[in-house]
Symmetry: C2
Subunit: 419 residues, 2 copies
């Protein structure tokens, strides 16, 4: 599929994240401070809440779906509504649309507009599903012969994360305190995290609920769209706490997502297969078709007041398990899934060093620092650093992107209990 | 404090769970099928939603707090409102109340009334905080010398559970399917769980939100009340999945809570200290006063159509960490806590075999079956078994109880993917 032309000129390039082929869902604050739903097009936002209020655009048989400036209610209406709405917005923004002038009052520039979380995160689950990442981390922690846990090739390993930690791109992240114990210490101390890290991930948003187990194909149908996701990780807190029941406070400080939810429909041309299985999967996890996506990803790091250096470049097609497989596994026990559940893919790492999605891997546990373009070196994140994830699927003369998923790391509080 | 007298006769005994000293919060369906908030008194329920609608009882400066038959909005109003409301209900139900006749239209018999979940569970966290339980399970899995993980005496170990799995007492539980791998098998199979188990726990309900880290004292102030909690556990699924990131599908089928939330105020007379520390705690986890409670607990098991046998008797005072300590730990990273968060205490086990809170421990991993009064034996739960938790704090001539936390286990589906 080639670039689809819009009457919004800035959408008709191969560099914008938001051509007519994309039309991702976000939320923003109006000049009056109201939260509205919006769709990104080029460097503008189409104000969906205002269009609905004025009767220009409506979901058939529904009222005030976008009134609260949140996409949750829309998601709950199901795939038929998603498709019809996308068709309607595509017509409004197409170069063929008869009356673009009549829509200018609904166009808001992206520059200078504050974006907010576009849906209510119901529950958040994070996975561990990149073979390269799991092998790297496993080698560091358990040695090369025990790198991959015995269950890894049979189960998309996941753990429940903390939904309340999810925030939108642009929100600062405060370096956490926690219990740390260095290998040469006998007892832990309570202190600011010294090994604060990113995890480059994609997030899949569940748009339809389930009650019993679902197949991989049914799971794929339940997914509404995708975001970029940075699962901030305190490695020193993690090392001391994670046995025997998994990561907890090391992952609870913040989880940053991109402001724009790219609809599954916009990613259709970029579907690809998961890699060849190293061990056959049980039937309930087999994919009926290609369920991964070819999405180029990168991470930029900028010191306070300095230029950004790209520290990682990889691709979502590196995952061993797709989001649909992860969601299917999530329901095997009968676990009920809800509209607004967010599934983190797990850190996405390629084979090469520059393709790794976490500083833990890139610097091999801090032993092999990286040098930024400014000449500064890094093992883990330092105060004032800004970390930015970007991603896009590249088509014929266009790119389907997510907007940047960015946050600055603020220093830890001197005393976290001082009010 | 002695038994407080009510004009509801059935509340004036030392056997009811619901004397005037208690006044726990629940939700029920009216004859018209509406969900209402209620307070238990003796064998009756006081219909709070109807009282508010008729203007007999109100939260000052608030309207329709109980309109939806859910206590979440009330919790969010804070401790001052909790106290004032409890005082008002105590007056209405006291033996001294001037016009009991005027309240009879608001009294609903408990027998024959369907109770429902009394609040919206925001997120659910489960802990691992009984020293006896951790030692028993650790010994079984890792041998006696490695029974307790190195961090256990420093951190109230917890993991995020699945809020969508929480259901009210009386809701059946379907035996789950999952990936299982016996030690002598090379590869897993997808099959119904064979080692389905209970975990006897208390649940603490967070009634006030937090943003940064909170002290143990502040955490105690945030707790609204307590419930009984059964964290159903599929031991064979757990054994195969839980390394390296913790329990996931093994704990996601169902989590049953008692229908009544006992307010913290009703438990005040039963506060007690956590046991002596085996290793000094870091300052941020030290308790400023007694934050555990003396609550006698038991588990009953009844085979299909048969009599119940009590299979465990223990006490909440056996916990090494209090809910306030767990909540304080939960916030150390800056993790935001929300109104309606539910914290499971972790399995509560005493020292003796009959004081253990899970079949895994009682039958020592299935090696030492128990015999029920009917003569049948059990290692884990069999289809048709009904498991019931009960708990109460025993005062001077009265008991503050939770109502029973009960559910029947239904057989696994023949084919979980058949629609």
């Amino acid at each position: 599929m080639p670039l689809m032309k819009s009457w919004v000129d800035s959408a008709n390039t191969d560099t914008t994240d938001f051509p007519l082929n994309n039309l991702p869902y976000g939320a923003f604050l109006t000049e009056e401070g109201e939260q509205h739903c919006g769709v990104a097009i080029g460097d503008m936002i189409l104000d969906i809440t205002a269009l609905e209020a004025d009767g220009v655009l409506a979901v058939p048989d529904e009222e005030e779906v976008f009134f609260f400036g949140d996409w949750t209610e829309f998601m709950a209406l199901g795939a038929g509504v998603w498709e019809g709405f996308r068709t309607a917005v595509t017509e409004l923004l197409s170069a063929d649309y008869a009356d673009p002038q009549g829509l200018t009052e609904y166009m808001v520039p992206q520059v200078g507009t504050q974006l907010v979380l576009p849906f209510a995160v119901s529950e958040y689950t994070d996975f561990y599903a990149s073979l390269n990442h799991a092998s790297n981390v496993g080698t560091m922690f358990r040695g090369p012969e025990n790198a991959l846990p015995p269950n890894w090739l049979s189960i998309p390993i996941g753990y429940n994360g903390r939904a309340s930690s999810v925030q939108v791109s642009g929100t600062d992240v405060r370096r956490p305190w926690g219990q740390l114990k260095a290998p040469d210490q006998e007892l832990p101390v309570f202190a600011p995290c010294k090994r604060f890290d990113i995890e480059l991930e994609m997030g899949a948003i569940v748009g339809q609920p389930s009650e019993g187990p679902v197949t991989v194909g049914e799971a794929d149908d339940m997914i509404f769209g995708y975001v970029l996701l940075n699962d901030w990780s305190a490695r020193d807190i993690q090392a001391w706490e994670y046995q025997p029941l998994g990561p907890f406070q090391s992952k609870a400080t913040a989880t940053t997502i991109s402001p724009w939810i790219v609809p599954k429909a916009a990613l259709e041309p970029f579907r690809c297969d998961t890699p060849e299985r190293q061990r056959p999967l049980l039937d309930h996890l087999k994919e009926p078709g290609p369920m991964l996506y070819d999405i180029a990803l990168e991470v930029g790091m900028a010191p306070e007041g300095g230029e950004e250096t790209v520290i990682s470049q990889t691709n979502y097609n590196q995952m061993y398990y797709s989001a649909a497989q992860q969601l299917a596994h999530h329901t095997t026990s009968g676990c009920p899934m809800s509209v607004g559940d967010l599934l983190g893919s797990g850190t996405i790492s390629g084979v090469e060093k520059h393709q790794r999605g976490a500083l833990l891997e890139i610097t091999w546990g801090g032993k092999d620092p990286i040098t930024l373009d400014s000449g500064e070196t890094r093992t883990f994140i330092e105060d004032g650093d800004t970390l930015t994830l970007r991603g896009g699927a590249v088509g014929d003369g266009y790119r389907v992107g997510f907007g940047s998923c960015t946050a600055k790391v603020l220093p830890a509080l001197d005393d976290p209990y001082k009010r």
